[in-house]
Each structure stands twice: as structure tokens, then as C-alpha cells.
């Protein structure tokens, strides 16, 4: 479903955000990308969404070689994946329903499909009763549910989540994780960048740890930190 082969990304100014990353993620997997701030988690997601091109190496997402994709095909790539961000990225002037419907409108889905799919996905995220609210009338957790609904309404093969619980309190985060878990159980591959220890440790899913752009650990039922590195991590201080 996702494959990275020796991917390196060096930004102008010499910052190395990815360094020889090779990774394979199968269909239906749930993968945490963990690591301190600046370790390259977000860069990896940006590369997979073709928001940036790698300096070297190859990436495949849902059968498409991302780094060789002609620019006019990039929208097709993004339609086959869903993306959730820490800051929700909702349109403040649109209601919950409109925000989710927007994602279908702009890719030209017919109206009857929109009328059918939007209420369905709002039920899935538990916001059917708040369809007419504006984002500012919702809590942070509810706003993130809207953004997940928007990412999932088109039934993508893969869901990318970049720090989806970064702005939420622990209790709300649990709810969001339950939702992502439920989406994962429908067969959707979920890749989530996070530095929330509690969540990673509780879920016990595959963990890919990054440090200064390089993969330093890849465990199938991992924790946020491998046991030997705990004192080391404490020595470096709490990441963000």
C-alpha cells in the first residue's frame, strides 16, 4: 500500500528531514510514526502526499509512484488518501455538513452521492446531531471529528493523520483514537504521526521511530519508546 525506498529529503539550507528511509506498510495496517519534534514525521507525510518531492529515493502510495507522478495526476493521488491535521483545517464559515460536503463537491461528486454519504459519515463520527453547527460552536474534539469525517467521506484507501490529538486533552484524544481504530477496522490503512506516549503505549500497534530523519526502530507491536532508550530520552528532555 505504501512503500518508501531509500528516501532522503534535504531542505534548502541543509536541514536533513529524511535520511535513507526505507519502509513498507501493508494494506489495513495501523502505523504510528513517533519521534521528537523535527525528527521528520511530518516531512514523511508531506512527501507521501506529494506536497514536496524527495531529494532522492522513490515512494509509492496506493500503486502510484508519488515522486514520478505528473503534476496533473497529483489530485488523483490525494483523492485516494485522506488527511487529518493537528489544527483541523476546517472552513470557519461553513457548517459541519458543508465542511464535509465540500470535500466531495470539489472533486465533482454528484449531489445525490453527497446527500447520501455526508450524513452517513457524520453518524460514523458521532456528529449527526450537530450537522448545522459552525466549527467555532464545537469543542476541539468535535472539530477533529469533523476533519476526520471530511478525510474519510470519500472512502480513501489510506488515512494520514499528522498529530491529530496534538491540540486535545487526553480524554478527548481517547475518543479520537477509538474513531481512528474503527476506521482502521474497515480496512483503511492508517498512518499517524504523534508524540503522544500514552496513546502509542495503550494501542500497541506498529511503531516506526524516527530520529533526525532516519528510521531508528520499527516494531510490530511497539511502545512509544523502546526500553533501553528511556534514560537517554529523559536525558534529552521532554519533546515538546
Amino acid at each position: 500500500m505504501i512503500r518508501l525506498q531509500d528516501v532522503t529529503k534535504v531542505y534548502d539550507g541543509g536541514v536533513v528531514a529524511a535520511q535513507g528511509v526505507s519502509l513498507e506498510i501493508a494494506k489495513g495496517e495501523f502505523v504510528f510514526l513517533v519521534g521528537p519534534s523535527g525528527s521528520g514525521k511530518s516531512t514523511l507525510i508531506r512527501l507521501l502526499l506529494r506536497e514536496e518531492l524527495p531529494t532522492s529515493g522513490d515512494l509509492w502510495v496506493a500503486g502510484k509512484q508519488v515522486n514520478k507522478l505528473p503534476s496533473w495526476k497529483v489530485p488523483l493521488l490525494r483523492r485516494s488518501v485522506g488527511t487529518v491535521f493537528q489544527d483541523f483545517k476546517l472552513l470557519p464559515s461553513k457548517t459541519v455538513y458543508e465542511n464535509v460536503a465540500f470535500a466531495l463537491e470539489v472533486i465533482g461528486r454528484p449531489r445525490h452521492v453527497i446527500r447520501q454519504q455526508v450524513p452517513q459519515v457524520l453518524r460514523l463520527v458521532g456528529l449527526a446531531a450537530k450537522a448545522d453547527r459552525l466549527p467555532r460552536q464545537l469543542s476541539g474534539g468535535e472539530q477533529q471529528r469533523v476533519s476526520i469525517a471530511r478525510a474519510f467521506v470519500n472512502r480513501p484507501l489510506i488515512l494520514f493523520a499528522d498529530e491529530p490529538t496534538g491540540n486535545l486533552d487526553p480524554g478527548t484524544s481517547v475518543g479520537i483514537m477509538r474513531l481512528l481504530d474503527r476506521i482502521n477496522r474497515t480496512g483503511t490503512t492508517v498512518v499517524m504521526a504523534t508524540h503522544d506516549h500514552a496513546i502509542v503505549d495503550a494501542m500497541r500497534r506498529r511503531v516506526v521511530a524516527l530520529d533526525r530523519g532516519a528510521v531508528v526502530r520499527d516494531e510490530s507491536r511497539g511502545a512509544y519508546e523502546s526500553v533501553p532508550s528511556l534514560p537517554e530520552a529523559l536525558g534529552e528532555g521532554e519533546p515538546e
Binding site: 472552513l91 470535500a103 470539489v106 465533482g108 461528486r109
Partner: protein, 293 residues
């Protein structure tokens, strides 16, 4: 669905900042009114030139000592020149008749001429093939024996041709300078519209909206501004050209000048096409660098 969505987006974009949109429309309007106006005025000047074309242009006044045979030989020779279309002999009585027609309301003047026929001598009236050839013909005819004086309506024609050329220069100048200003104004409105919708656009990209899907509403907005300005300009010039044309015309009876509907229609279409092109181009210029893939 898609078409309706794009149209809704365009209308929203126009409503978002009506003053800025209005300024772009006015810029196109002013540019094209001046250009179209100049085209119409130039047309009326060219009509005047055409009127001169139909008349006898060079007149060779003949002395009394010249015999009819000589006059006939001269007429034959001059008509064989390339730059001459035809040569007509005008006798004294014919000249008098013409004089009477030209000044019917001045009997005193006619009386004077009737008393002394030598005031109006015989003449050869020469019609050049091309309007500009009169000076050449004038010089060649002047050396014939028996020709007293050669006159031509040269200066009047020259003035009209110069005026027509000035109109063209004016139209081109206005088109270049104000057209560029209109283009930049439209580009500016589009850039502001893109900026106002930047959040929406980033989300559209995120969920996989096609590039053209994002661009089309802005192109339509630019197109609307260009075409609206052009349509108003076409309307104003088509309906309101009369006073200006009559004021600038050199014809003795300006009331008779009516710009033909077909001419106005053809040029209105041209103006609309220029408006549309300006709108699309301005829009593309406005999106340049801000809406890349």
C-alpha cells in the same frame, strides 16, 4: 453539478469585493470606449476622404490661346497616365452652370461671372487613381503649354489623411497604455480573490480538487470583468457616437452622417473579444505564481 458549482463560486467571488470588481470593469470600459470611439471617428474621417475621392481632384485651368484640338490631344495624353483614372473637359458654359449650382443664393456673384466669362476659363478636370497621387499629376500637368494654373484639393486631403492617422495612433496608444492598466487591475482583483480564498484553496488541494477546478472560477471572474466592461463600452459607443462624429466631421452636412449598424456590430464584437481576452489574460496574470500545482 460541477458547472453549477463553478458558477456559484464565480458569483461569490464577484460579490466578495464589488468595489474592486467595479474598478476593473471601469478600467476596461474607459479603455475600450476610447479605442472604439477612435475607431468610429476614424471611420467618419475616412468617409470624408472617400467623398473627396469621388470628386474631380486636380483642375488644370486653360488659357484662352489654346485650340480645341490641342485641348483634345492633351486630354488624350493625360488620360493615358497610370496615375490618372479619367480626364473630363469642362467648357466655359459648363463651368458657369456649375458655379450657378454651387452658389444659388448669391445672385450678385453669379451676375459678375456672367458679365465677364473670362473669370471662369475652360478646364480639364483630372481624377487620380489613388487619392495620394494628386501632387505628382499637378507637377506634370503644370508644364503643358496653355495651362495657366493647376489647382488641387491637396491640402484638405492631406489634412484629413493626417487626422485619420492621428486617430489610429491615438487608438493604438490608448489601447496599449490603458489596456495594460486594465490588465493589471484585473490581475489585482484576481490576486485579492485568490488571497481571500487561500484557506479554501489549500483544503481543495488537500482533498484532491483538480487544478482547473480551482482555477476556473477565477478565470470566469476575470472573463466577467473584461466582458462586462467591453459590453458597456460597445453599448455606449454604438448608441452615443453621433454627437462626437458630427462634431469632428468635415462634411458640410454633418446631420447626414450615420455610422452603419453593420460597422458598429462588427466592431462591437471585436471589442467584446478584446474585453474577454483582457479578462482571461489578467486573470491568468493574477493567478501566476499563486496557484501553482
Amino acid at each position: 453539478m460541477r458547472f453549477q458549482y463553478l458558477l456559484t463560486q464565480t458569483i461569490q467571488g464577484i460579490r466578495r469585493n464589488p468595489l474592486v470588481v467595479a474598478s476593473a470593469i471601469v478600467a476596461v470600459l474607459v479603455t475600450l470606449v476610447l479605442v472604439f470611439g477612435a475607431i468610429v471617428v476614424r471611420w467618419s474621417i475616412d468617409q470624408d476622404i472617400g467623398r473627396w475621392d469621388d470628386d474631380v481632384r486636380v483642375i488644370a485651368w486653360l488659357g484662352g490661346e489654346i485650340s480645341p484640338d490641342q485641348i483634345f490631344a492633351m486630354q488624350e495624353e493625360i488620360s493615358s497616365w497610370d496615375e490618372v483614372e479619367e480626364v473630363v473637359y469642362f467648357s466655359k458654359p459648363q463651368a458657369l452652370e456649375e458655379f450657378r449650382e454651387l452658389f444659388p443664393d448669391q445672385p450678385a456673384l453669379i451676375e459678375v461671372v456672367e458679365e465677364d466669362p473670362s473669370v471662369l476659363p475652360d478646364s480639364l478636370r483630372i481624377k487620380p487613381t489613388e487619392a495620394g497621387d494628386y501632387a505628382d499629376i499637378q507637377n506634370r500637368v503644370a508644364v503643358y503649354p496653355g495651362v495657366q494654373e493647376v489647382t488641387a484639393a491637396g491640402e484638405e486631403i492631406d489634412a484629413l489623411v493626417a487626422r485619420s492617422n492621428r486617430m489610429r495612433t491615438f487608438a493604438v496608444g490608448v489601447f496599449v497604455v490603458l489596456g495594460a492598466a486594465a490588465l493589471v487591475l484585473i490581475a489585482n482583483t484576481i490576486r485579492m480573490a485568490v488571497y481571500a480564498r487561500r484557506e479554501e484553496i489549500s483544503i481543495m488541494r488537500l482533498v484532491g480538487a483538480g487544478n482547473w477546478f480551482i482555477r476556473v472560477p477565477f478565470l470566469l471572474e476575470g472573463l466577467f470583468e473584461g466582458v462586462a466592461g467591453a459590453a458597456l463600452a460597445a453599448l455606449i459607443v454604438s448608441l452615443g457616437n453621433k454627437p462626437i462624429v458630427q462634431m469632428l466631421s468635415t462634411v458640410t452636412d454633418p446631420e447626414s452622417i450615420v455610422v452603419p449598424v453593420q460597422f458598429l456590430l462588427q466592431n462591437s464584437l471585436l471589442v467584446l473579444a478584446f474585453g474577454a481576452a483582457t479578462g482571461l489574460l489578467g486573470s491568468a496574470l493574477g493567478m501566476w505564481g499563486t496557484l501553482r500545482d
